[in-house]
């Protein structure tokens, strides 16, 4: 199980929880598990999310491995100028 911190406005789709636990070994599995468990998150995940893993932000890489003790934070897909 990995504990995923989600951002505040998504809490309405996770029964009010700011941190949820799902089974996932990488970014792709994480997105799939979140969408399956909390269908309300699906539109946001489809629009794009980034993943911060131990402080480092990944924007797309599906197979980024998530260790059991990793700090996992879901973030909106990042865009710059």
């Amino acid at each position: 199980m990995v504990a995923v911190v989600i951002w505040g406005s998504l809490r309405r789709f996770t029964d009010g929880q700011g941190e949820v636990e799902v089974e996932a070994r990488n970014f792709k599995e994480l997105m799939e598990a979140l969408s399956a468990r909390y269908p309300g998150l699906k539109p946001q995940i489809e629009r794009g999310v980034s993943l911060a893993l131990d402080g480092r932000i990944y924007r797309e890489a599906w197979f980024t491995e998530i260790g059991p003790d990793s700090e996992v934070v879901l973030m909106p897909y990042m865009a710059g100028g």
Partner: protein, 746 residues
Amino acid sequence: MALDNTGQRVFKVVGTRPPRPDGVDKVTGRALYGADMSAPGMLVAHILRSPHAHAEIVSIDTSAAEALQGVKAVVTAADFTPQEDEYLDDILVNCLARDKVLYDGHAVAAVAATSADVAKAALKLIKVEYRKLPHVTDVDAAMRPDAPIVQSGRSLETVPEGMSENVTSHCEFGHGDLEAGFAKADLIIERSFTTAATHQGYIEPHACLATMGADGKGDLWCCTQGQYNVRSICADLLGIEASQLRVTASEIGGGFGGKTTVFIEPVALALSRKSGRPVKIVMSRSEVFLATGPTVSSSTDVKIGMTKDGRITAGQAHLRYSGGAFPCGTVDMGAQAAFAAYDLEAVQTLGWNALTNRPKEAAYRAPGAPQAIYAVESVVDELCQQLGLDPLEVRLKNAARKGTKSSYGPTFDDIGLMATLEAAKAHPHYSAPLGENQGRGLSAGFWFNFGGNTCVTLNVNTDGTVGITEGNPDIGGSRAAISQMAAEELGIPYDKIRTIVADTSSLGHNDVTDGSRVTFSVGLATIKAARDAISKMCSRAAQIWGIDEEAVVWEDGAACPAGPNAGKFPPMTLAEIAAVSFNTGGPIAGHYEFNADGAGVSFGVHLVDVEVDRETGGTKVLRYTVFQDAGKAVHPSYVEGQMQGGAVQGIGWALNEEYIYGEDGRLQNPGFLDYRIPVASDLPKIDTVILEIPNPGHPYGVRGVGETPIVPPLAALSNAVSRAIGKRLHSLPMSPPRILKALSEA
């Protein structure tokens, strides 16, 4: 790829200041920018734009224009297929209005003709019947329940029930117990701020030259921050295959985020397809202001609590941004960045984006962050003033550092904020005396920085020189930095390398030049491509020497036998290996393709002294110093240039620049005379102090530097003005009339 920590690396080329490879072209007028290209038989196109802020298009009659002698093609939205993907469809509708015009200057139709005069005459012959609709240009007004609706049905599921349909998205970030945090405070200050929309203000207007045949094959030359992005958008909008459209990026005359999308390119391609002739479109300056991306306008409430000794106990911000007439996610970035410089137990940021009848937002350097951080840094400064605390000490006390849980969620790794603040504190600028009507302001700033998709090819030529092919337009010296990193890695002189920017057919996909990503990502790919070529060269040398590949190492630009067991051979230089490459297996090239992550966030601190003229309300910037963590400055001159340029754009934003709309919803200042960007005589020297706290995600420690410097100036200037006149302004820009008004409200 992690930082090379094998002993303290001594750099030979990285960190020096060689001349840039495109320098001579650019000082002689030879460099070709967007508008500088022509083609035989070329037509010139002009665009008809809406005179209304908001109106329904009842009908468009182009027959008279089409009949005009010399007109070869006319296009409207009807010539394009609506896109299923909302993001793409918004871009399309912004290029040519479909059912409604959504802002003053919104494109409605385009004409390609044998001359500019004919094209302009034809525009006058197009009859558009409009039915005017009520409009709204202010973000707060747009959020009221009774506001005119700019577009319906665009709200995301994140928007709470009961808000105006103009509200397209809502976000919330933060952690901790706000109430408990505020309860611990000795002083709580809550203030509201606004910032005007500003334009990137690149000196080169958008321009392109499109050639497309009836067979669906096309060529496009344009000034863009990302030729691959232009290709995929245009291919989709025109219904052609990406492989059939080759996009070449011209030299680019500034972008700052504003050239990360398309405005005229699909239109030119459609006109070319229709007419069978090359079509050139060059925007005028007023078109650039009217119809290309300004940044968001914002309205913000910030509440911060502090103890008497300067510890921040809680921070909260409500951000209302408008990205114009289309949904826009920039507020998410602002809400995440707002408190990033602080180590907080309790923090919450809420953001909303609202539609207004303004042009579609385009990214502008650290999009969303300057507005949010301006408000936060202003309130922190006011707390310091009221509590009699030194603003730098307070920031040091509360600064985010390694191990801090950031305001947007993740825990920070190595970051340079503390070092940057310490450098500011130790700098003579901070303790220099000030005169009457003068004030000193300080602000921290932050940006995420990105990596992204990147390809690099490195070709070793038989004469011992090296060609690098990369896919990101060179906005401010990146070809130099990339050549430097290759020279460093290969161990050959900088001037033996030539780096070129490829068109979309010559190299795989590269993300747009944005998010301060190029020196980081392309640099990383270059280092990897060099290492790829090195391993091939080592294997060639091993073959020549008849020893194991593993027994060869690369040192100082040459293959050498490693250790005593490898045998005794004199080193073979890159040139020597290259010279016999045809005999040892053929040409040698290194490649690297990847999606870069680990860009490493960036912090900066700006110090500014101003003097306010109480008669005129004018603010003179007397002294300015930028402190920023660059990780590792590859070409320090261009790092300084980014810091100086970003700071001056921020100064313009703070003091003068703004989109001014009339009652009629029309833009009143679409020109450089009335939209005043800083000129040389407005400014003092912009001092820079580069700090180098290596980014753990890059072998040389490089961090992006381009965006952070526009973030701190807004609050730094506002804090300085507040201290100079003893009154705080809560709106940007602090133009002379606003300052006079503040002074008169004694």
